[in-house]
Symmetry: C2
Subunit: 340 residues, 2 copies
């Protein structure tokens, strides 16, 4: 262990970000690791996941979950090891994943905790291909968008944690898969490592719609959207009749200070008889187990991969989060909290 | 007959409208009524329907149907009587509805023609509650939006030909029904004659979203949209979890000269897990017969009504169309081409 078991470092929300978050919106604080009550476990986190949804939790706005209050530890999932246990289901030494927040040690009653076996797959995969991003990709693509073989699937945020999985699942389904991402390195990653048929760097395209049309000669049957904004504006005119659009995220909009404006898109849906559906992975909770089994199978077959970008130290979690929001990561952005 | 059976007056598309259509975009021409070939009938139209979809056909743009060419008779459905027949299925004197276009007489092989019985319901109903607008409302509400009892249904363009039917069907389904329309007279019509629970005049509202929220205290479960634009902007923030939005029309956008801009709306769909689906009545053609039977039943029970606004003379079809696009009509806008 890198720190005394008694000392816990935590990142709290110090201020509600106005627009893009800044360091001053967060604060590193120290506290003592509590002793577990009866039924509780203390977990030392090894890796923390930082994800786009966290930006929404920093706002004081009604949503599907309560906002983080000022002074509260930022929410987040991490994976680690039980170091003290008064709960028979989770003995000391058991690896677990759970919503411990941005801190080095967490206490849990066991509710919502899930066991992780590092012999099956590396611990970190519990936070991407076998975790929430993987499940989001799985349900968003297969249940919401329902692609069939030979259809054209476009994925925005294609090199991110969710997009990486979407592309590989779409390929497995026999689709023509085109990814949109924000750098040439990301385009190489998705085409060379993930098996995307084509990739497009939206930041260097002079005419995104035109360039995308060339990569989708038969139009777009499925659009899995993580990004929104101008990327989505380019995709909508290319939708085919009976197209399905899954709205997973709108990361390009999360830091807007004013209500973002853009071309009105709903008119496209009439002629194309297209369906747009927003979703949350939480809506599929009854099916998590089956989906995770399938994802684990694919991972172990070697047909499901995701690069990791690792930032060290809880004190750097805010920076890791901000860099992820700016697109610095290829694949999954993680924060390493202690050596495995 | 008001005109010689030999003389046919037609309205052709003279120019592609730039923005809102003007009289000069149309031209009245005369021709001789052709003799029917073997298998054909000649129909004298009694009423012509003018509908928002026609605006799209005036553009030179790919859509679900070919544009009307310059010099061609404008497309449209009318109802009338067979006056000469060389087709045993449609004898002289038979009332029929068909896509005869903006003209007094039409020739048909019988394909796409449908018999209409004025003893069952007035001829004009074949162009609204028992015709395309009625079917559009029926499938759009019941198949696309699938409301259940006690849900809140919001309808834009509530006093139009489609909206009139949507509101009454939603009431029949036991929903709380709120209509948005463009005048106080229309609001009175939908609440006093059609049974809408509430109506809202969007033109006089200072804060459409706020006013609508008051009329929808439990949020919006179903939004049937004929209009788009700022009306839709006000509805989206009020959508409930699992809301369904049916996009039937976007009449507020059809005459735009530039791509219309507005607040980005897709982000609302994630947290609300809402579905937006565009549709065309044509997609439900296999179910027309059953739907029309049901609509006829409701009409004869007196639970399905629609006011008519009648403009006389084929020469006034362009004006009737333009007035309809400006919202002058309460209920269905028709053009009467000859006395019944």
């Amino acid at each position: 262990m890198s720190h005394s078991a008694q000392q816990n470092r935590q990142v709290i929300l110090a201020a509600r970000p106005r627009g893009f978050p800044v360091e001053a919106d967060f604060q590193l604080v120290e506290s003592m690791v509590p002793e577990p009550d009866d039924g509780q476990v203390v977990v030392q986190a090894a890796y923390l996941s930082v994800d786009p949804y966290m930006r929404g939790r920093m706002n004081d706005a009604a949503s599907y979950a309560k906002p983080v209050e000022i002074g509260q530890v930022m929410v987040g999932e991490s994976v680690g090891k039980v170091i003290r246990s008064r709960n028979q289901r989770f003995p000391e030494g058991q690896h677990v994943a759970g919503m411990f927040g941005w801190q080095e040690y967490g206490v849990s009653s066991g509710a919502g905790l899930r066991k992780v076996d590092p012999a099956v797959a590396p611990l970190t995969t519990a936070l991407h291909v076998l975790g929430m991003p993987g499940l989001t990709a799985y349900f968003g693509l297969l249940e919401v968008c329902q692609p069939t073989a030979n259809e054209t699937v476009v994925v925005s945020g294609a090199a991110g944690a969710v997009g990486s999985v979407v592309g590989q699942l779409a390929r497995s389904a026999g689709c023509h898969v085109v990814g949109i991402a924000g750098s040439d390195d990301k385009v190489r990653y998705i085409t060379q490592e993930l098996g995307y048929d084509h990739g497009l760097n939206y930041k260097t395209s002079d005419d995104l719609r035109e360039d995308l049309a060339k990569l989708c000669p038969r139009g777009v049957d499925v659009y899995f959207d993580n990004v929104g904004g101008p990327v989505t504006d380019a995709v909508f005119p290319l939708l085919n009749v009976a197209a399905r659009v899954g709205i997973c995220g709108q990361i390009s909009q999360y830091n807007a200070r004013e209500i973002p404006q853009g071309p009105r898109l709903l008119g496209h849906l009439i002629v194309k008889r297209a369906t747009v559906r927003g979703f949350l992975v939480l809506d599929f909770v009854e099916k998590y187990h089956a989906a995770r089994s399938r994802l684990t199978e694919l991972y172990r077959e070697g047909t499901l991969n995701c690069r990791e970008r690792i930032t060290d130290g809880i004190e750097n979690a805010p920076r890791a989060f901000m860099e992820m929001m700016q697109g610095a990561n290829i694949g999954k952005q993680l924060v390493r909290l202690c050596p495995e």
